[in-house]
């Protein structure tokens, strides 16, 4: 019998102060799609970075086709046919070059030899061939800057397989994709599978693993926990393994009473996406803006918060019409907004927890002449850190040293400090591990219990079902349906989100 195509044994890697991987093992055979999962910080990305040659200082062995190999640089990894597509696609693409040039970048860099001239015809020919192979409907001559996120990701996959590719690592490829785009990605993955490429699939969306993967490896705290065939496990078992304990109900239940309408939005429009959107929120109520990625939920949130230009329509808060031209107006009126793109829009990665926590409401931390009251800042931050369960060594720790879930808690926490009336959450659980997710749900429901009005925008329909009281389903920038969440199923939500109509 042939040996397994790739084995990683006893991989250990230390970073100053932490052991990121502790004798981790992983194996995959040709033609498998193998899920690698774990909570944030479990070490799955680190393990894949080891495999792709991003780190040099690990110990342990990597065996390919029964022979031990040394992978200490990206070049080594590529020589063995290991290719990786990272989650942040924009960091790996050059926006002002064409699709073809981006796909053929590896060749431009390493296979040029003595040749000094770029043969554009050949580049576009070969790139087109790869695109055609994968049936990706993008022209080789298009500029990458004009592509959608999903298309960019496909360009990256095309780049990966344009060179020798036996092992393809996809790091959370579906996180930013809509359902249709995910289906297309899966089609490509299956095609690669037929060509005996081994695909390692990292994802937080457990459901979809059952659709595409045939093996699943769970990691926790830098260690290997289990490897199973996908048919032999359930979502609950996986979550249990990820957390190392029994998962209770994912969505907490908190008794709360709904009061009168606080925010009313009428015929909201922006310059391109948002089209005639009306809804209202009562105090103590959590409403959902449900819809697929790209449906316009983020745009609605931003228009509401004064963060877009050319907004029309009326926004009434406590019976008073408000016209937030810039977010500062909205915040002053009593709105709070936790944006989707945490690192880009929500937090200051190079600042400490204190600065982040007080940044939305600094005027409450000042004395005469706007002088800052440092001790009050520290006191309130400490309280907030404790209340939210932010795992941080000290409150002076820079945010870049915290995990995604904890960063998100800080991004939410800074608005709790302001004590707003209406909270807008845009995909608050994106890139957050299961444990932190539950903390965030609890937090949101407690806010509602205190009489706040909550707007919860998400493409995770299970979350809409689990946490909201009412939901507006958004499709193509419009509200297509309003539902009482308890009366509908997740499937119903999906039906309307994908453009389904009654009758």
């Amino acid at each position: 019998m042939m040996s397994i195509a790739l084995q990683m044994k006893d991989i250990t890697i230390d970073f100053p102060g932490v052991r990121a991987l502790d004798q981790a093992t992983f194996q995959i055979d040709s033609g498998d799609v193998h899920a690698l999962i774990g909570a944030n910080g479990a070490g799955k990305s680190t393990l894949m970075k080891v495999l792709s040659g991003a780190y040099t200082h690990y110990s342990g062995t990597i065996v390919i086709d029964g022979k031990q190999v040394e992978i200490r640089s990206p070049k080594d990894a590529k020589a063995h046919g290991i290719q990786i597509v990272y989650q942040e696609v924009d960091t790996a693409l050059i926006p002002y070059l064409t699709v073809g040039e981006n796909i053929m970048l590896n060749h431009l860099v390493s296979d040029m030899g003595k040749s000094q001239w770029v043969n554009y015809q050949k580049i576009h020919q070969e790139a087109s061939r790869v695109l055609e192979d994968l049936r990706i409907n993008v022209s080789s001559k298009q500029l990458v800057s004009s592509l959608t996120l999903a298309e960019k990701q496909m360009v990256l996959i095309a780049r990966a397989i344009s060179s020798k590719c036996r092992f393809l690592i996809l790091d959370e490829p579906t996180a930013p994709l809509s359902t249709a785009e995910t289906d297309q990605l899966f089609r490509i993955v299956r095609k690669l599978q037929e060509e005996h490429v081994a695909v390692i699939f990292i994802s937080h969306r457990l459901q979809e693993l059952f659709e595409i993967c045939n093996y699943i490896t769970v990691m926790r705290n830098g260690r290997f926990i289990s490897e199973d065939t996908i048919q032999s496990v359930t979502v609950n078992e996986i979550v249990e393994k990820m957390l190392g304990k029994k998962m209770d109900e994912q969505f907490p239940v908190i008794e709360k009473t709904t009061g009168e309408s606080i925010l009313e939005v009428n015929r909201l429009r922006d310059a391109d996406k948002v089209n005639d959107v009306s809804f209202h929120v009562r105090s103590g109520e959590v409403i959902g803006l449900a819809g697929l990625v790209g449906a316009g939920k983020t745009e609605i949130c931003k228009a509401l918060f004064g963060a877009s230009e050319k907004v029309e329509g009326s926004i009434t808060l406590h019976g008073k019409r408000i016209k937030p031209k810039i977010p500062a107006h909205a915040a002053k009126a009593g709105l709070a907004f936790v944006p989707e793109e945490r690192r880009k829009e929500g937090i200051l990665v190079e600042e400490d927890v204190v600065t982040n926590m007080t940044s939305a409401n600094l005027k409450d931390f000042t004395r005469f002449f706007s002088f800052l009251n440092f001790s009050k800042e520290r006191k309130v931050t400490s309280q907030m850190v404790e209340r939210l369960g932010v795992k941080t060594p000290t409150i002076e720790t820079k945010l870049q040293n915290l995990s995604g879930g904890n960063q998100q808690k800080v991004a939410i926490g800074k608005w709790l400090v302001t004590d707003a009336d209406v909270y807008i959450f845009d995909e608050p659980t994106k890139g957050v591990d299961v444990g932190s997710k539950k903390d965030i749900f609890t937090l949101i429901l407690e806010l509602a219990k205190r009489g706040k009005a909550i707007i919860y925008a998400s493409s995770e329909l299970a979350e809409i079902k689990g946490i909201t009281d009412r939901a507006y389903i958004i499709f193509d920038g419009k509200v297509v349906k309003e539902v009482n969440t308890k009366d509908v199923t997740e499937e119903d939500l999906l039906f309307y989100s994908t453009g389904g109509r009654d009758e």
């Binding site: 100053p16 990786i84 960091t91 810039i326 880009k344 929500g346 200051l348 040293n401």
Partner: protein
Amino acid sequence: MSSNSSEANLSSPKEKKSGFDFFQFLYKYGTIITIVVLIIVFSVANPSFLSVNNLINILRSISIVTIIAIGLTISLSVNGFDLSIGSVASLANAVVISMFVWHSQSTVVAIAVALLCALLVGLLNAFLIVKVRIPDMLLTLATMFVIQGVALTYTRSATISENMIMPDGSYSTGTISEIFGKIGQVPFIIIIMFAIVILVHIFLTYTKHGRYMYVIGGNQEAARLSGIPVNKYKILAYLLSALFAAIGGIVLASRVMTAEINAGGNYLMDAVAAAFIGLSVLGAGKPNAFGTFVGAVLIGILANGLVMMSVPYYAMDIVKGTVFALALALTYYKMK
């Protein structure tokens, strides 16, 4: 590979380093250690380096650079940049002297008009950067030329001084007031510098407004979505930047009592160097007034000491540039 190297930076959370880290130490104290070493070397080479007179001399010589660099520090704090500060200093210099010499105005009017001109430039910068959204570095490069030209045109490319020959052949009659002349002399010039350093340090570190500026500099979009009026603070930053450049130009005018052609231009590069050397002082990691002052001190000591050691003036820039490069190496090597 581009994909991998850029991704490596986004790697998973790293814990704080434990134990002694040589580069961390150099990063924090490198500039100060360099200053101390320079002082020791220069005073061994020439004992009069440490004389009170010479120390005052150094402080006086760096005061104008420091004042201008402080303005730059404020624009850097919102992650902006202002290359027009040298030209603004020239303009303020020309305007204040001309107010005395050509128009026989009082000290208050002369200074006020000069500051007003600078604020107009600051407003223009701010408008084009914030509203028209031209990248700061490019826009201020453009206004640097424009304002330099405006100053030249205004002075008709001549040096303005008392009793100068006017275009109609007569002599100018205005005089520069005595009080104005005091501004550029010891001790006032040094007092003004310290006052500005301390005030701006307090403003940036201890007030809400300073904190907002750093937040904007750290992540403009996050700041905006936190409800911080980003544009307002960016406008303020460019106004302050121009204002301090003008104060630098006015102090310069008082010190030399004339308005030479493009007199402020020479201060631009020193100010940039001082502000960037200041980034790392005591591990601040961001633009800060105290650091900028330390950066200016480093440059000042270097220049003064080298003169004392009879290094020819034309070789000075080699040393200055090298020190600047080393300081930047310390700052950016750490970020790797």
